[in-house]
């Protein structure tokens, strides 16, 4: 059976578009046929923008006919609903922003539009990106396309599920503690969190500003590199953006790993909660890379066990401050009740935020409050230094660090939603890279006996995205996992 357009990759579609075998319009129509067929079951999107997409496709087709097609020109891309999109609702998965329509585009959106990519909709997410399952969304959960009673991971679960279910060609997400890598692993797609500062945060709704970073979801490593080429770069509108040249990441995709030493941290392969199938799949992938010439070396990241505790103090502390802006005055929801000012604040926030967001605001406010600052926030920030040093030492003896992305395959909807601590622990392998500001990537590396995807995480040194992509590419060339598709029809 001939493959449908919506099933293809960016690089395949770019060839078809450039050589005028298909039009972007045809591609967008095919995309929405797919969305119409499966979206009701997956619920990957909060908002679909078909009319705007068809208009953008028309412009893209014109650019292509003029001979000025970039790699993303005419390609349908889904956007996590955390990025401001001018004229299109940006809810962040929250009631408090249900009717918020930004008047400007986030820098990454501008960059996609400059290449004439086609934006087809805004994807579902945990409310304010706080969650690991997409279940805390005010708009209801997204389901894992591989098994509809399982979570797609989170917080960028809608973007990951949309790529896995062929409801878009690639997508954008954000990663504060694993919110790109963990859903990528859960949905069997590639997801990349770049080095902190590599991608502009301007126009991205802030959760924890010292940890947040945007990145791509794609069907393979080549598409990931093409997305990175578009979104990376210095932005004077983000004071933490790093002024450093962006390489052509697709040129890094060569079949050569013999020069690489892969560090395997023993702390990531032991301990309770580690699924044996996951461990086996990641080791199998490591052996494949070794067969291709890479050197495998055990390394130690001794403070790994403290990362979750440090993160769930630092991130909520930053969030409690960032979310103070939702006060019912400048934008967003305001309580309809007639009240005085203070009551208006309290009712607006209590009616507008969901339980997990409130829990984190409370944790953060407590950790920063008089008398507790040293014991909690300062202590966690010191442990953050220790975690950074662990990585500095490990990278003296290895080029990349390879671990499972998540300790288990995707769990069932409802399984952890009433046990916040258990939910937090599902980020145990992804959080350390955020605390250290390091880039991380998740690539499909196996399937559980139940047919659920398993992801392998590759962590690089600062700005080592090219080496990470090269390693992932070499594995992918000898693997079929990225070609496997969930059955939804």
């Amino acid at each position: 059976m001939a493959r449908k357009l919506y099933q293809m990759t960016i690089h395949e579609l770019h060839e078809l578009l450039k050589n005028r075998h298909i039009s972007s319009r045809e591609l967008v129509v095919s995309m929405f046929e797919r969305i119409d067929a499966v979206e009701q079951r997956v619920h990957a999107y909060i908002t679909l923008t078909k009319q705007e997409a068809l208009q953008q496709a028309e412009t893209a087709d014109q650019k292509i006919s003029e001979g000025s097609a970039g790699p993303l020109t005419g390609i349908p891309i889904a956007i996590k609903d955390i990025f401001c999109t001018a004229g299109i609702a940006t809810t962040c998965g929250s009631k408090i922003l249900e009717n918020f329509v930004p008047v400007y585009d986030a820098t990454v959106i501008k960059k996609l539009k400059q290449q004439h990519a086609v934006l087809i909709g805004k994807t579902n997410m945990d409310e304010f990106a706080m969650g690991s399952s997409t279940e805390t969304s005010y708009f209801g959960p997204t389901r894992n396309p591989w098994s509809l009673d399982r979570v797609p991971g989170g917080s960028s679960g809608g973007s990951a599920a949309a790529v896995a279910a062929d409801e878009c060609i690639a997508a954008l997400g954000t990663d504060t503690g694993g919110s790109i890598r963990q859903p990528a692993a859960c949905c069997g797609v590639v997801g990349m969190k770049p080095t902190y500062g590599r991608v502009s945060r301007f126009g991205m709704v802030a959760f924890a500003s010292s940890l947040d970073q945007a990145g791509p979801f794609a069907k393979d490593v080549t598409d990931t590199a093409l997305m990175m080429n578009c979104i990376c770069g210095y932005d004077p509108l983000d004071s933490t953006s790093v002024n450093r040249d962006v390489p052509d990441y697709s040129r890094a995709l060569v079949r050569e790993v013999a020069d690489l030493t892969l560090g395997v941290p023993k702390e990531y392969f032991s301990g309770p909660g580690m699924d044996l199938e996951v461990e086996k799949a990641v080791w199998h992938a490591l052996r494949e890379l070794e067969r291709q010439g890479a050197t495998i070396k055990e390394v130690s990241l001794p403070h790994t066990a403290y990362a979750v505790a440090a993160y769930y103090l630092i991130a909520p502390a930053e969030a409690s401050s960032n979310l103070a802006r939702y006060d019912g005055v400048k934008y967003g929801y305001r309580t309809p009740q007639e009240t005085g000012l203070r009551e208006m604040y309290e009712l607006t926030r209590s009616e507008g935020f969901g339980a997990e967001v409130k829990r984190r605001i409370m944790l953060g406010t407590y950790a920063l409050s008089a008398g507790y600052y040293d014991a909690y926030y300062k202590k966690a920030s010191q442990v953050r230094t220790l975690i950074r040093r662990d990585f500095e030492q490990a990278f003296q003896i290895c080029d990349l660090i390879v671990t499972p992305t998540a300790p288990t395959p995707p769990f069932k909807l409802g399984e952890k939603i009433n046990d916040p601590l258990q939910m937090y622990l599902s980020d145990i392998f992804t959080i350390p890279a955020n605390l250290a500001g390091l880039p991380g990537l998740s690539i499909p590396c196996g399937m559980s006996a139940d047919g659920l995807p398993i992801g392998m995480q590759i962590i690089g040194n600062y700005f080592a995205e090219e080496t990470m992509l090269r390693c992932a590419y070499c594995f992918e060339q000898q693997s079929e996992w990225h070609r496997k598709k969930p059955v939804l029809a």
Binding site: L313, L363, V383, R384, L421
Partner: protein, 102 residues
Amino acid sequence: MVQESAVKITRKDVAYVAYLARLRFTEEQLELFTEQLNTILSYFDKLQELDTTGIEPSTHAVDMCNAFRDDVVQPSSAVDDTLKNAPAHERNCFKVPKIIEG
């Protein structure tokens, strides 16, 4: 149930933090949050196992200092645009409930 000895945060503390955060909870929610926050804060005790004397805290992921630019006027959002998402506005101002009682 949270053991008496393991109590990190009382219901009264939770109510006070809610006041600081401008959140309001029902009695039932206060009960649940007190229990959940105690479980989470007890988990954080793990950090006390580490001796961090003399360790510099990291407040950023990567080393950075201030980002300066020349003090030149830049374009910003138009007033109409800025007010577009306001729950209430009047004559180029955000409108809020009365602040001074009396």
